[in-house]
Subunit: 322 residues, 2 copies
């Protein structure tokens, strides 16, 4: 699906730098004045036991300097971070994977760059991009779910993001199997502990006979009828189905858009997941299950969209009244 991303455009506007900080990779790209993403680069996510937030800020400033040296007229900066993010304050409240707590990314980024800067939750950024340019376009009530190293949902209600002060959409830590495996969060049987790409690898390695590097390897083993891979994959689908059914019971979205690394599996994931969702929602609301369209660049697109939005604020009620 990433194939059609190069044709995607946001339309004319200021050029901005978009940085998408993931658990393993930092992606960066320039959104040019025509509204196209240019020269996506990938780097390992910097880690620091002492100052994990500062390491990310340093990396972002280096990326900005490099882009400026290349002559790009950058007007604003948009950066995604994982974990729990308070977008109103620009604060990374907590990232279990990367290790920060209450880190003022927005303030520091603006200070170090001298540019209008916006910090946004990675999955929320992807949802913004899917809503503007991708599979969630034109859908009022929609959940965008990312299945990768972790699992999270970004909710849009009545065509607008609903973040619950940064805490909504914690789909990954819903307990779906009280007798399931332990989760990094301290609970047992969370969706993420069974259904994430990372869980597929970890759970295969615990019992499987073959080396696997990633979820695609586990899927390959499953297609060879490796019984451990079959069991691990089937339980992942059941956990994902249960999680999406719970999300549906609470929010009844018109559609659920699934992206992230695991969504690259395509029909092998979507066909049985749709069947799980249909069965579990029988007699209740059944949302459409859609594949995300912006692929691995969704977060980068979202960061770019929100960076531009800092320069051209949408008309608010107050503006209208004035």
């Amino acid at each position: 699906m990433t194939a059609h991303a190069p044709a995607t455009t946001l339309g004319p506007g200021p050029a901005v730098l978009a940085i998408d900080v993931g658990g393993t990779q930092v992606k960066a790209a320039l959104l040019d004045e025509d509204g196209r993403l240019q020269g996506v680069t990938r780097h390992s996510t910097p880690r620091s036991g002492v100052d994990p937030g500062g390491a990310v800020i340093d990396a972002a400033v280096e990326l900005l300097d490099a882009a400026r040296r290349a002559g790009a007229p950058i007007a604003a900066l948009g950066m995604t971070v994982p974990g729990i993010v308070d977008e109103t304050r620009g604060v990374g409240v907590r990232s279990t994977n990367l290790g920060w707590q209450e880190y003022p990314f927005g303030e520091l980024l603006a200070e170090r760059s001298g540019l209008p800067s916006v910090v946004v939750h990675d999955v929320r950024a992807a949802a913004e991009a899917e809503a503007r340019l991708g599979a969630a376009r034109g859908i009022d009530d929609v959940a965008v779910v990312t299945i990768g190293t972790g699992i999270a949902a970004a909710l849009r209600i009545g065509g607008r993001a609903y973040t619950g002060r940064g805490y909504a959409g914690e789909l990954g830590h819903i307990v779906v199997d009280p007798s399931g495996p332990p989760c990094a969060c301290g609970r047992v049987g969370c969706v993420e502990a069974i259904g994430s790409a990372a869980a597929l690898v970890r759970r295969y390695r615990e019992r499987g006979d073959h080396p696997v590097n990633d979820a695609a390897d586990v899927l390959r083993r499953r297609q060879l009828h490796d019984p451990v891979a079959v069991a691990v994959w089937d339980s992942a689908l059941a956990a994902l189905g249960a999680g999406l059914a719970v999300l549906t019971s609470i929010m009844a979205p018109q559609a659920i858009v699934v992206g992230g690394g695991l969504s690259e599996a395509g029909a092998v994931l979507f066909d049985p997941l749709r069947a799980e969702l249909d069965a579990r929602c029988a007699g209740l609301w059944v949302p459409r299950l859609l594949r995300a369209e912006l692929g691995q660049d969704a977060g980068t697109w979202g960061a770019a969209i929100l960076a531009r939005a800092t320069l051209t604020p949408a008309p608010t009620k107050r503006n209208t009244d004035a």
Copy 2:
């Protein structure tokens, strides 16, 4: 808590008739021109295998006729119905308990009464009342949960009802124990099958040695250390805690307001339920857990509030622009 309801007032406005149709009882009351609920009456919910929706409409029209004969100047009609309700169309989409499907309550009520009429989901009506006059007052993101014969939640986001076209807040049919008891909905281990007032009675009767008529009887047996009552009550608390934790993971409400029959138990319910919720939400968002303030009259208040709203539409954006 019902004790302070008589002092509650909506303020001056037109008089309306409010009818709250529950699974076992129909309550009706006049909201007078001072904004006070007058003369709440209770009747058994009419049931009809042939025309279950028509039986409810007939009962509503009789209540209206009686109120008119008593000289009340009724300007509008508000009625709650249980199950899944499409409030935009005024249609009772489905009630498993009472047996209708796609029943046009709003249209028929307006036709038979000759009055502006509004049909609303019973729990949504209770939430409207708690938001206007009770425990949810002034809270932007809040879930109002009713625990009675069934279990359901009404969501308010940014200070406005979010209904998901009638399907949001289906808390009762979230599966929290895949090895739990069967639910009337066809699933196994739903919150409602373990944690509702009806489930407490049914599950005690299956194994207990004493006759029980209602959830209060089961609670009394528990306080006498009847081991069956202790087990049934503890599993109900665990199921309710798991359900509220799931609701929190998805929506992260600032507060959860709990009402309905079981909430009459007071601290015996709320103290351990708060502990369950705290433990299950550890490391994530923990909402405040509040007791509903309008007691058994919340649905009636909500129907009255929404009936008045049909006569005095709130200013909309379009009005502002004109």
